[in-house]
Amino acid sequence: MAPQTETAVWNALTGVPDPEIPAVNIVEMGMVRGVSLDGDTVTVRFTPTFSGCPALQVIRDGIRDALSPLGFDSVEVETVISPPWSTDDITAPARTKLETYGVAPPSPAQEQTLFMALEPEAVRCPRCGSYDTRLTASFGSALCKRMHVCNACREPFEGMKSV
């Protein structure tokens, strides 16, 4: 098989969805720190989002499945934890996709202090766009999400935590 380019690898990786939020892929979520090609081996530098996220293994498998058809003998997924993944790494197009999908994108990550403000920055309702919303639960259906409700349109919605 013809040697693959780095661009081809990146393109293939954009086909790997975030299993918790399949509307976005791992590249635009900022989970891929880099790729390197060495002969028939490709190494993907992958950064986990939340340390206990059960999707991590699924994503690692997804990376291998996406890159195997490119003809590499070996697909290595290297875990990189420093600097830690931040929701600020999510690209602008991915933020729009999140909102369209019904998940409020994260506010800019605050300085990482030990204690958080109890009334964080207002979260915009992904359905009607109102900022008149409130947090209803600090935890949601996945480690990365919290629950909100919109006072304007009355719809509950999920929002991504800022880290």
């Binding site: 206990g52 420093s82 030990l114 109890l118």
Partner: protein
């Protein structure tokens, strides 16, 4: 940094194991609420927190693996009760809602402050894992702190339960700060946080918060880390059962 001495390596391994043991057991106790919490949102919150703590246990055990090649699954699933070095705080039965929330609050404060100190460790991999896990711990502490306030200032019944939980938990919570054998040199070398320094910050934070809620911790001596209650063996029996029954299994 220069190569770790055998003593420093041993101290790091011991501390990482103690941290992981706390996380594993507490995660299991939290998971016991799944399907049983008083409201759905709290069921979900505790499942999330349990999952985070399990993730932290994996982080500490993976770091240990880089030091001695040990298998995280073997450590979690194939050690006997007397080999666990958790603080007994984390093995106590889940109790009522006040007990669960107060235990988690006291533990989260310790974990967050220890990790905050460990971010400055000269052993860079430890500083890196701590920076990662601390971000998650902040959400726990916010959540449990609010519950401690709600219950303390709620009804006479919720306040009574909080007082009972505080009396029961306090000596066990103090046991979190118990120094590990052989750790002093690694602390002096800047590789590990000093538990007594973490304890000072913890006491200031926790007793300050509790006193504003009208609660005063009892005068008690700490329960030594590694001193276990009768509750650990049954917990491990359940926690390790599937892994022990299917030792050949590679995935669940």
């Amino acid at each position: 940094m220069s190569e770790l001495t055998p003593e420093h390596r041993a101290a790091l391994i011991a501390r990482l194991t103690a941290l992981a043991d706390d996380e594993l057991l507490l995660s299991h106790r939290l998971a016991e609420w799944t399907g049983h919490a008083p409201i759905l949102e709290e069921d979900i919150a505790l499942a999330n927190i349990a999952q985070d703590e399990l993730g932290h246990a994996i982080g500490w055990l993976e770091l240990r693996r880089t030091l001695d090649g040990s298998d995280p699954d073997a450590l979690a699933y194939r050690r006997a009760p007397d080999e666990f070095t958790n603080a007994a705080l984390t093995e106590l039965p889940k109790g009522d809602w006040a007990f669960t929330m107060l235990r988690q609050y006291l533990y989260d404060a310790w974990e967050a402050l220890w990790q905050d100190a460990a971010k400055a460790s000269l052993y860079v991999p430890l500083a890196q894992v701590s920076a990662l896990t601390l971000r998650e711990e902040r959400f726990h502490f916010q959540h449990t702190g609010l519950w401690v306030e709600r219950l303390s200032l709620g009804t006479p019944e919720s306040e009574r339960r909080m007082r009972a939980a505080l009396t029961a938990l306090w000596p066990y919570a103090l046991g979190l700060f118990w120094p590990l054998d052989g750790e002093a040199d690694a602390i002096a070398a800047g590789l590990l946080p000093d538990p007594s320094g973490v304890k000072s910050r913890w006491l200031e934070l926790v007793t300050g918060h509790l006193s504003r809620l009208g609660l005063t911790p009892p005068e008690e001596q700490p329960v030594a880390r590694g001193a276990h209650t009768e509750h650990l063996a049954p917990l491990l029996e359940e926690f390790q059962r599937v892994a022990r029954q299917h030792p050949e299994a590679v995935s669940w």
